[in-house]
Amino acid sequence: MNRYALTVAILGALVLALAILSLAAGPAGIGVIQGLSDMLHGRETIAATIIGQIRLPRMILALLIGGTLGLSGAALQGLVRNPLADPGVLGISGCGALGAVLVFYTGVSALWAPALPLAALSGAGLATLLLLALTRGGTLVLVLAGAALGSMSAALLALTLNLVPSPYASYEIMHWLMGSLSHASLHDVLIAAPGLLIGSVLLFSTARSLDALTLGEDVAQTMGFPLRAVQWRVVLGTALAVGSGVAVAGGIGFVGLVMPHLLRPLAGARPSRLLLPSALGGAALLLAADLFVRLPVSGAELQLGVVTSLIGTPVFFWQVWRLRGRPV
């Protein structure tokens, strides 16, 4: 078994173990197998309700959102050929959150439920398009554009919070902005899963094109991989994946930055080889972080986005440290 296959196998086993642990962990001491079996046989026991309504949606969302965040980080890094590309760092998640908050604040989402994910998708999609238009300016311009987008979305989110009529609504928005799966429901899974899955398919479909792009846009094009086609698939895939994730779980940052960075030495430098490991790694990271926030540490439950950011920022610093002194 070569190193790539071994990496994928270990990550896959890790995701499976964490997923089972995620179903088992919680204050109510119930049997996972019993609960799953009750649920599948339609028996309305307490165990079936807790597994089916609370823990299973939470596990599925952590798995899918973590996976797509890792995947979109790897695909974005391959597309712009820059290890700092990440939906959170580049402001894509922030713009998605802004879209969702605007719909939430104006009450549109209460009238028509799909408006929330659609608004988050649009925010994330517009941000990705703008960034792509600016990638030709090189690394410096890309990172600055990401910082500008992030600041803009943060400012507009703060303004919205400022204008929210009731403290309860502002608490709700704050809570959600920090990123959390603690209120995940089956309804959330149904809202987010289509976007997360279609987005993943689109992102995985860029594998060969991303490999070709390592030789530059011109060579990739002469080998039969037009740049526009790859760009559109990455933009749509990222917008669908990040937007859907943000719509149900709020802003969860840095997964897409951390995973490709950690896995590149194991998976090799070919961008196509990084997609699957990054997706598995992202799923494992978010499942683990979501288990961690459930630990009764300080009484109050930590927010998921806070934990991933605390893990991610040191990696971000490390990347910047490695890039120092290089021409931009």
Partner: protein
């Protein structure tokens, strides 16, 4: 396969870059594209590679319009080596060369791919470095690896934009010799060159461009005349009668 430009013209931002260029690259020949800076050589090569659409005229590959051909098919027929390539991320030399097989991913077997990659590595003399990281290569080695990537496509048409500009004389000779071998094996090769001595020695035919026009095309002896040096390049030459460099540049004929 014959690559043909059918009276192509191009204007970008008000500048007439190419004017009614009609030429062809035939199997078994190395066609040199020469001319002063800004003559339109690289632009023409980019159009021939399908990277830029001409404003008028067509590019034909065995009579078929290059721009209506499916991208994947075009990728198998035509290999392009740009003047500058991005620093390949830490892939191994073999991985970089293997990328040249991407256009064949649905048509070739793993053995065919491996053979093509090994032949390309052997051709540029980089087999011993196959497992080294491409980040740890000198400029000349990197240029040879990128050339091997283009060779691994095994395309009937090979287009190279100033492939020897960054190479020392010995490596430049090796690379030009390699293009000659490609032609002998039946490929049609077009190369943008600045070094007229190399052009004279290695090209079957030379196309001279100046200010977006095709000034002259023919064998080196027909094309590289004293008049051409004076009119196109603005330099006077002295003939030395040697084989490789039959002239030396003595003065500029342009007024400052």
């Amino acid at each position: 396969m014959i690559l043909q430009t059918d009276t192509i013209s191009l204007t970008l931002q008000g500048n007439r870059l190419l004017n009614d260029i009609a030429l062809d690259v035939r199997p078994g020949e190395v066609l040199g594209l020469i001319g002063p800076n800004g003559a339109g050589k690289s632009t023409l090569l980019r159009i021939m590679a399908g990277l830029l659409r001409p404003e008028t005229g067509r590019v034909l590959l065995d009579g078929q319009d290059l721009f209506t051909m499916p991208p994947e098919q075009r990728g198998r027929h035509l290999a392009y080596l740009p003047q500058e390539a991005p620093a390949a991320v830490g892939m191994s030399v073999r991985d970089v060369v293997t990328l040249g097989r991407l256009p064949h991913r649905r048509t070739a077997s793993a053995e065919q791919d491996a053979t093509a990659v090994q032949q390309a590595l052997d051709a540029v003399g980089m087999s011993a470095f196959a497992d080294r990281s491409s980040a740890r290569l000198s400029g000349g080695e990197r240029a040879r690896v990128l050339l091997a990537r283009a060779l691994a496509v095994q395309a009937p048409i090979l287009l190279a934009d100033e492939p020897v500009a960054a190479l020392d004389p010995a490596q430049a000779l090796t690379v030009m010799d390699l293009f000659g071998q490609c032609a002998v094996q039946g490929q049609a090769v077009a190369v943008v060159l600045h070094d007229l001595a190399l052009a004279a020695r290695f090209c079957t035919r030379i196309a001279v461009m100046s200010q977006g026009r095709l000034v002259s095309i023919g064998t080196p002896a027909e094309v590289l005349t004293d008049t051409l040096f004076a009119e196109v390049y603005g330099v006077a030459v002295r003939r030395c009668g040697e084989v490789a460099v039959p002239w030396s540049l003595v003065s500029s004929t342009r007024r400052p």
